[in-house]
Amino acid sequence: MTITDVPRSGTVLAEPAGQVTDRDSARRFVDHHIAPFAAAFDRQEYLPDELLEAMSTAGLWAPFLPPDTGGRGLDLVTLGAIHEEVGRGCSSVRSLLTVHTMVAWAVRRWGTAGQQARWLPRLATGAVLGAFCLTEPQTGSDATAVATTAVRRGGDWRLTGVKRWITGGQRAGLFLVFARTEHGVAAFLVPRDAPGVRVTPIGGLLGTRASMLAEVTLDDALAGPDALLGPDGFSSGMVLTGTLDLGRYSVAAGCVGIVQACLDACTEYTSCRTIRSAPLRDLQLIRAKITEMVTDVTAGRLLYQRAGALKDAGDEATLRVTLIAKYFAARAAVRHAGEAVQIHGANGIGADYPVARLYRDAKIMEIIEGSSEIQQITIADEAYRRSTK
């Protein structure tokens, strides 16, 4: 892949126009607007405004929202295919899409009529981008240990705390913040321009370098009277569970995209690169690695598609299948990105080929939206829960 520098403003992103409605149109969009520039996005740790605007024009941000809120009512199986294609092109872009999807879904699922009227039309078009704020400097996997507080004062919700590693935080206009109330941990909608909100960019990441991470400081932030999203108390954990479920679904699809990108890069490279006058592809050890990639990309795709079909049917089994899909796909992405670097040899460690970026990006997927280790605990717990012994 040729590395192309992307200016922070300009006209490099133009055609094709039109809406992204399925895998094919997503593929065309990604091959034109994203994949050729992914290396530059990564190097510059930045996504240009033109790309985000092109995604708005294409209706990419939240097409699953119902038409009366500005979406297209797209089914979640198709949404997964679109996120896979975006993940194939650039995991930083897919990461922004993931957290935005989580926020838009949460407002749609749990929001009051007033919250939905205020936020959904702008989330649907991407006029406002969402970011998911759970992790804190001292709290990651243990959501019950969230230290950020939310108190009601004078009718308004006030939030105090620090959220770290917030994907898309540099660009988001709406933060979905999890904070402690007197009843437990609840979800709050906090506009970026609320008094007391401060955003500090985080750079120098291992992977997904262009996902525009930030630290979000809430200093007695004035979130307003209707900031609470969904129930407070016992059921508030469901807001977090449901939102993370959709995030895992998107990450699972994106990881399948990473494996597909590894496969594409490796079949191309091994067809051109020769050893002892024969292409690398003739070596059986290379073919073994390619076979493993083909097998896992197919299995990973089937898993997230099954999870998506269950979501479309409203079937509760989707929660468990999505956990498995994300766990499988994240591990497969790390494994195959490592093999892709190995196949490329010295060329694999430089910036002239995409596999080094894919390798760094894949590692992030084993950490976000539930680390692989936490998911091992959860998946095993489910097995024991269902056991009759």
């Binding site: 749990w110 009051t112 969904g230 129930p231 108390g233 016992f234 059921s235 954990g237 469901m238 977090l240 569970t241 449901g242 479920d245 049917a313 409203g314 079937d315 509760e316 989707t318 929660l319 959860t378 489910e382 829960r385 269902r386 056991s387 009759t388 012994k389």
Partner: protein, 84 residues
């Protein structure tokens, strides 16, 4: 109360916790193994199976403590849908 609703909810809980014997009026939270994942599953099962949408104000722990309470919740929402 519709015994079929109660039986379906009981059947769902039993399928998830086959090692436990849970009566219709037994507090499932007192058994200690209900987590947020199961709570979400329970809400999704009820909404899909009985074709209702549980509003936020009904998502209170007391409505989900027992099979009987959940069946009462289903009946209330079914009436609300019918009137809506």
């Amino acid at each position: 109360m519709d015994n079929d609703v109660r039986a379906q909810i009981h059947g769902f809980i039993a399928s998830r916790y086959p090692h436990a014997s849970i009566g219709d009026d037994e507090d499932i939270f007192s058994l200690g193994f209900v987590n947020s994942l199961f709570a979400m599953e329970l809400v999704m099962f009820i909404e899909k199976n009985f074709n209702i949408r549980i509003p936020n104000e009904e998502l209170r722990i007391d409505n989900f403590r027992t099979t009987t309470r959940m069946a009462e919740l289903v009946e209330r929402q079914a009436v609300a849908v019918g009137q809506g």
